[in-house]
């Protein structure tokens, strides 16, 4: 299926940013999820956490101004905001595992309708690496995923059961895709459609989704500004 007008990564990140409350403590996964910070809503002040022991960091420094002792979990240089704090790795993961983070936003290979997430390994080949993902999905109060709705070769990423190795079981509560916003009703093991691109029919969306999309009440329009 060739879908017109899919959201790009910037637009998916923008949509996820709309749901971040003022004062929320937020951990953004390496790469794509990091883009969410740039779309923080005016007047809201989320506080960003990074696994390697910083709360309250801000934008990347200008090129040439990097201090390589001041990086995020993606090993990119960062800057501090007033009110920042440093701490060791045990304290950093106490924040995560202890349920102190409000939101963790991660990428995904697959999300299942029971909330299972696979995002760290495709198969048995190559070098495996897990980082902090398994701690984040078990610790944050709200675990959200950003992802293209389907893989590059058109396979569904929202599935009945993950075929890739799991990162965590029953952990994802919301998925922001290039086509829709979908909640995971973990208790009833089902996807609930929250918003979809307005021009997309339910049938078209269902046809690229690997598990049944339920509807509760209405479905909103996923409306996002032009961004690139």
């Amino acid at each position: 299926m060739n879908i017109q007008g899919q959201l790009n990564q910037e637009q998916i990140a923008w949509r996820a940013a709309q749901d971040i409350e003022d004062g929320a403590y937020v951990n953004l996964g390496i790469g794509f999820p990091e883009k969410v910070a740039a779309y923080t809503i005016e007047g809201r002040e989320p506080i960003f956490h990074t696994e390697n022991g910083v709360l309250g960091f801000g934008r990347a420094p200008e090129k040439g101004e990097e201090d390589w002792d001041l990086i995020n979990a993606g090993k990119k240089a960062i800057t501090l905001k007033p009110g920042a704090a440093f701490f060791d790795h045990a304290t950093s993961f106490a924040m995560i595992r202890g349920g102190h983070l409000d939101v963790a936003i991660l990428g995904a290979l697959q999300v299942a309708e029971n909330g299972d997430l696979a995002n760290w390994r495709v198969g048995d080949k190559g070098v495996p690496a897990v980082g902090g993902a398994m701690d984040l999905v078990n610790g944050a109060k709200r675990v959200a995923v950003l992802t293209d709705h389907v893989t590059r070769d058109g396979k569904p990423k929202l599935v009945e059961a993950c075929s890739f190795p799991l990162t965590g079981v029953g952990c994802v509560t919301r998925v922001y895709t290039s086509l829709a916003v979908i909640d995971v009703d973990i208790a009833h093991q089902r996807f609930v459609l929250v918003e979809k691109l307005p021009h997309l029919s339910m049938d078209d969306l269902q046809s690229v989704t690997g598990a049944k999309l339920h509807v509760e009440g209405g479905v909103g329009d996923l409306e996002v500004p032009e961004l690139s």
Partner: protein, 235 residues
């Protein structure tokens, strides 16, 4: 972001009957006297209190106990120079005591804050404080399994605080305060000085603000030991 409250009374107003409350300090060092006294004014009953001790004299935790607010106490050392408040009620069967070795108490609180539901320690193995707890052997040595401790509220005393809730502590007044700050659903800190954001060096922060929900500035806080030397009573 501003976690500041105007008064200690407002900061503790929603601590209701039956709540579990961690109270920082080791004896009088680091004891949040003004928050405790505000809680006495509010007067909730049937509280479970977690503190290293059981109060001294007739102020602070001892006064809470005298007011009949504490149904259950989890502590390591319920003795002090003047332990009458606790001792009388304990011997009368009016207050339940869970005695926990001090290091196990600290680690159980830390575990509560860190999302570790249980851990093993050699402490208390083979003693009556280890009885009726699961045990296990690791590398040929026996250990006792201990569970995390969490609370509805923590009352802590800090030195500096900023609007984000970042805290520093004065001298040995640190003790249980940073641990308890992590292990309660709502952590309330009294700070001797509230500074603007950026007023605490990020490298000097002891308790990062994510663990703190409410701050009240209490300049020149009272010291339990000094109050007791003056034979003070509260209320």
């Amino acid at each position: 972001m501003n976690k500041g409250f105007a008064t200690t009374a407002e900061a503790v107003a929603d601590i209701l009957d039956g709540a579990t409350v961690m109270i920082g300090g080791f004896g009088g060092s680091g004891a949040p006297i003004e928050l405790i006294h505000a809680l006495i004014d509010a007067g909730p009953k049937n509280l479970t209190v977690i503190n290293n001790n059981a109060g001294n004299g007739h102020v602070g935790l001892a006064a809470m106990i005298e007011q009949g607010m504490v149904a259950r106490l989890i502590c390591s050392f319920p003795k002090s120079k003047d332990p009458k408040a606790f001792t009388d009620r304990y011997l009368a069967g009016e207050i339940e005591l869970e005695l926990v070795p001090q290091g196990t108490l600290a680690e159980r609180i830390r575990a509560g804050g860190a999302g570790i539901p249980a851990f093993y320690t050699p402490t208390a193995y083979g003693t009556e404080l280890g009885e009726n707890k699961p045990t296990a052997e690791f590398d040929g040595k026996p250990y006792v399994q201990e569970r995390w401790l969490k609370a509805d509220f923590a009352l802590v005393k800090a030195e500096l605080g900023d609007p984000y809730g970042n805290l520093t502590y004065r001298l040995a007044a640190r003790n249980f305060n940073p641990l308890m700050a992590t292990a309660a659903a709502t952590t309330i800190a009294q700070v001797s000085r509230l500074v603007p954001a950026g007023g605490i060096d990020p490298e000097a922060v002891v308790t990062p603000g994510i663990f703190v929900n409410r701050l009240v500035e209490v300049p020149n806080p009272q010291q339990e030991e000094v109050l007791n030397q003056a034979e003070a009573r509260y209320p």
